[in-house]
């Protein structure tokens, strides 16, 4: 008689703790957002705030530099304290490794600016990243934080305790650079873990996974919202547990960008669909070669595409991360 009661109390406590933890995470993000907004003057605030239903602003993101016109506030137009408040907000919204990845992409663009000369300063660099909000930051009502520029588009929809980071684009050019003698590879793990996985497949599995055609670019990149293509490659149900774990670890490079609380929910969803998830590869399987891959499941699309745009494709990578059932939090907001 006592055991069920103890179990019930434990379940209630666990739910309560989980709920408290998630609400404290969202609370920190909202506090960070409000702190940033409070640091702005009225004119800046009017530039950074959009209605939550603003369908034009919601989809205004790209891999392209500032030749693609963005709205919101440009980091280069912020004071030092405002920039710090913006970055503190990002740190609260993302996981530690997610925040570091974002910084590495932004600093990579600064390295590109310095290497480019000419149009470099007008097109690239850490000052040319934009922040914007759709809706008012709230622990209860839906709102959205956008941060992006050249090679980065984070679209984080927050609906109560839910944090949905799809669709988002991460990219890198150069894909490898040095700062103070230290080598930085913003998407190095995405590259290395994928090559490790494809090389962990046996011959028959690899025959399934490796496509017999070239893939020149992202298929479901910017501007392709709401579309889903037929999956191809090797189904995860045909992988052994070690290979499946490697795939989950690889997926975590995108799903783990968002804060740990939201990432745990997302990873649980992805794992529940793992047997219906596909891994497809196009290109050589020797690490260091330019190779495209796609991971696709019922609630997941990830693409990794080296770009042959006038240079070494391995130094210029585009990736996309989507949940075709919940991009922009459409599933979560429809439940509200």
């Amino acid at each position: 008689m006592l055991k069920p009661a103890i179990g019930f109390v434990a379940a209630v406590l666990c739910c309560g703790l989980a709920s408290a933890q998630s609400s404290s995470t969202v609370g920190r993000i909202v506090a960070g957002a409000n702190g940033f907004l409070a640091s702005l003057d009225d004119a800046q605030r009017s530039k950074v705030l959009f209605d939550f239903t603003d369908a034009v602003q919601r989809v205004k993101w790209s891999n392209l530099p500032t030749t693609m016109v963005r709205a919101g506030l440009k980091m280069g137009d912020l004071s030092a304290s405002q920039k710090k408040a913006a970055m503190d907000l990002l740190a609260a919204a993302l996981s530690k490794r997610g925040y570091e990845k974002v910084l590495a992409i932004v600093e990579g663009d600064e390295a590109l600016k310095n290497a480019s000369g000419g149009r470099g300063p007008a097109m690239f660099g850490r000052d040319l990243f934009y922040i914007s909000f759709l809706g008012k930051p709230s622990v209860k009502d839906p709102w959205m934080l956008q941060f992006g520029g050249h090679h980065l588009a984070l679209n984080l929809t927050i609906v109560g305790a839910d944090g949905i980071l799809t669709p988002s684009l991460t990219a890198a050019q150069p894909a490898k650079y040095t700062v103070d003698g230290k080598t930085v590879r913003p998407l190095g793990a995405e590259n290395d873990k994928a090559f490790a996985l494809v090389n962990a497949l046996d011959q028959a599995q690899r025959k399934q996974a490796v496509l017999n055609y070239k893939v020149a670019d992202l298929v479901l990149g910017p501007g392709q919202d709401g579309k889903t293509i037929q999956p191809e490659g090797l189904k995860c149900s045909a992988m052994n547990p070690t290979q499946q774990a490697m795939l989950v670890d690889l997926i975590g490079e995108w799903a783990g960008i968002v804060n740990d609380q939201a990432a745990a929910v997302r990873m649980a969803d992805i794992k529940s669909n793992l047997s219906a998830t596909w891994f497809a590869w196009s290109g050589p399987t020797t690490n260091g070669s330019p190779a495209y891959y796609r991971i696709q499941g019922p609630t997941l699309v990830i693409e990794y595409a080296p770009q042959p745009l006038g240079g070494d494709p391995t130094m210029h990578i585009h990736t996309i991360y989507r949940d075709p059932t919940n991009d922009y939090g459409k599933k979560s907001t429809s439940r509200k």
Partner: protein, 225 residues
Amino acid sequence: MKPLLLALLLAGGASAHRLDEYLQATLIGPARNGIDVEIQLTPGVAMLPAFLAIVDQSGGPQAYAARASRDVELRIDGAPAPLSLVESAFPTIEAMREGLGTIRLKLHTSRTGHRVRFENRHLPELSVYLVNCLAAPSLVVTGQRRDVAQRSIEFTYSFPPGPLWPAAAGTLLTALLAFRWRRSWGRRFRLPTKPSASSAVASISAPESKSYPNTGCFRSHPPRS
């Protein structure tokens, strides 16, 4: 030296945009009432002068759209399926100069069948290609095959009949009720204590694999708020 090649050599430097290639990305959307084809054409910034000359030679944007449409072929069950140009949209030249310009062509055939072959023969000397089949609810696609350059794709598609369990459950439930009515004629009607026929049938008929969310080739997809 060809003018295009010269332009490529002059372009140089770090590039954020597609340079020397004409990206032709096609999405094929089989539907019950035909097949939709969406082609997105993105000229690289370095090939823009050559590309604009081609558009001019074709007689302008609309004539070029018609030409590009004629250069693709769709066959269904081995027979040519004429594609009608339903819609075309051109970006501004300024947008194309910045590498932002994508031309969108929407085509449709009302032919249906099972085996599809699509081939794109438009400007092969300048182009790279992507071609994919869209997913849609209840659409089953098998046997996808492409050439190495993705200029062509073949696949088989079908729309299997919808799940029969609602009708079957209704029939079973009616039969069960009729049976009980006969047995308990004159007695008070009691609800069954075992799982209902409908839930039993539903569990038997549950789809084996998870379905992929849909899409639709030409639908606009404003995010729901």
